[in-house]
């Protein structure tokens, strides 16, 4: 059984996420926004675009993180898909760093991203912003800003689709049926 949220609901979730970020963003710090590939990268780009339009006085640096090498399931996979480059060509020391991802589930991606960022420097603080928090954490990790909260079983899949990556906007919540279909 699949629930589909349309582009209007994605827009609302994005608005909610943006409002929380805007409210928590300090005025006196260097701002760094880092998106986790692939859809976190897209979301980060959208958030940065909007922040720069609405708060032109802020200086915001924008990076992209590929967490493949930092995943804890690296040695459990069969075969190697393409690793993309991480692009953080600036200093993150003492910055207010916003980490952006599409879906927060087990917390393992966020954990990997924190480890990766640690290799780049020591930000003043790191905040986690996600479009969808679907629950099911396996690590003590929580998001600071959430666009949409859904509560689904562990075996359900939540997929975010964005125009830039998928040619359409939407969120699919795919639940396993009782008979396993």
């Amino acid at each position: 059984m699949t629930d589909r949220l349309d582009s209007e609901q994605v827009r609302k979730a994005m608005d909610a996420l943006y409002e929380q970020i805007a409210a928590q963003m300090p005025g006196d710090a260097r701002i760094v926004v880092v998106g986790i590939r692939t859809r976190g990268e897209t979301l980060a780009a959208r958030l940065v675009g909007r922040l720069q339009a609405e708060r032109p006085q802020l200086s915001i640096e924008h990076g992209v993180l590929d967490i493949t090498f930092y995943r804890d399931d690296l040695s459990r996979r069969e075969g190697a898909p393409l690793v993309r480059a991480t692009e953080i060509p600036f200093d993150i020391d003492d910055a207010w760093l916003l980490l952006v991802d599409d879906v927060l589930h087990t917390g393992r991606s966020a954990r990997a991203a924190l480890d990766a960022l640690h290799d780049f420097g020591r930000p003043r603080c790191i905040r986690l912003a996600v479009l969808v928090d679907r629950g099911g954490r396996e690590l003590p990790i929580a998001a600071d800003m959430v666009g949409l909260r859904v509560s689904v079983d562990d075996d359900a899949r939540v997929q975010v689709r964005l125009k830039e990556n998928d040619d359409e906007e939407g969120i699919s919540i795919i639940r396993q049926d009782a008979d396993g279909r």
Partner: protein, 324 residues
């Protein structure tokens, strides 16, 4: 999961759907064009790691890479060693000098003994063509060929091809001259194989004694005159004069070789303005290439070395992902 379709059908770039599954890298002969491009693209991502203040990622944490060098090498060994350490792997170095090989142990027994210590990846250089292939069949660990006899030197060719793609922005239709001792060169063989697979043209240049006519079976042209090809190629890859082979009658004299096949400023002036001059090293300055050319703006010799690190990181990472 749906993905955006690849914007172009350029076969020298891939989209993200391909998955690498080989446990060994033995040569470019058995690789598909897509596999070669996958290595190049992965290396592209690894270049960034070397620009960080902490030049390390934990991708191979807890893995052991054994470097088995049955034949001398400095830069290839150092490059693999540094690549392994940037991936957080531990390295074991074995060189045949003063080792159990001197006591009569076979290559396979040496490798099996080292594997029994718990090694995940073997990087092997051997004077016998096919030695890495033998080990790959017998060992469960991954095997990476770091040069076998006169057969292949895949990571050198990959870093050459990577550098060409980086500097010229394409491979399809690029014309590459490989100059020197083609008959004995594993670098030439691997380069020809890889370049042809990715749509480049190759002309091999050298004296008839060093360019076997059968090489045309690999799809390349032959020329015995460097001067004839200067104006028509995008890349000139100068192989090292292997002095160790001078005792044979293959070379008339070093001076004559330099006069006919050496790259100098006068010849460079007759090349395309943007011609790329490559050399796998170590250079014999003033022999196959003059200092003016080797250190000039058309040269990418040091860039090749830098890129070699990224290529070897990519190869070690990819083969490690295919075995468990």
């Amino acid at each position: 999961m749906t993905r955006k379709a690849s914007p172009s059908s350029d076969k020298t770039r891939t989209d993200g759907d391909f998955v690498w599954t080989r446990k060994d890298l033995l040569g470019l002969d058995e690789l598909s064009p897509q596999e070669i491009v996958h290595i190049l693209d992965t290396a592209e991502s690894f270049k960034e790691v070397s620009t960080r203040s902490i030049k390390k990622v934990p991708a191979l944490r807890g893995k052991v890479v054994a470097l088995l060098f049955f034949e001398d090498s400095t830069r290839t060994r150092m490059s693999f060693e540094l690549a392994a350490s940037r991936l957080s792997a531990d390295t074991l170095l074995f060189s045949s000098k003063g080792s159990s090989v001197a006591k009569g142990e076979t290559t396979l027994d040496t490798a099996r003994n080292i594997e029994a210590m718990g090694v995940d990846i073997f990087v092997i250089r051997h004077s016998q063509s096919g030695a890495p292939h033998l080990l790959a069949r017998q060992l469960t660990s991954s095997v990476v060929n770091a040069g076998d006899g006169q057969h292949e030197h895949p990571t050198q060719a990959l870093l050459d091809i990577f550098t060409i793609r980086q500097r010229l922005g394409r491979l399809e239709g690029v014309k590459v001259a490989i100059v020197g001792d083609i008959a004995h060169s594993r670098v030439a063989r691997s380069n020809i194989l890889g370049l042809k697979k990715l749509g480049a043209e190759v002309v091999v240049v050298g004296p008839p004694t060093l360019v076997p006519s059968a090489i045309t079976a690999m799809g390349c042209e032959i020329s015995h005159s460097l001067d004839d090809v200067l104006g028509e190629v995008n890349v000139i890859n100068m192989l090292r004069i292997q002095f160790e082979r001078f005792s044979s009658s293959l070379f008339p004299s070093v001076r004559e070789y330099h006069r006919l096949y050496g790259m100098n400023a006068e010849r460079l002036a007759r090349c395309r303005k943007d011609v790329l001059i490559m050399h796998p090293g170590p250079i014999n300055r003033g022999m196959e290439i003059t200092s003016e050319v080797a250190d000039g703006p058309n040269s990418c010799i040091l860039q090749q070395v830098t890129n070699g690190l990224a290529i070897r990181m990519a190869v070690l990472y990819l083969v490690s992902q295919a075995t468990r």
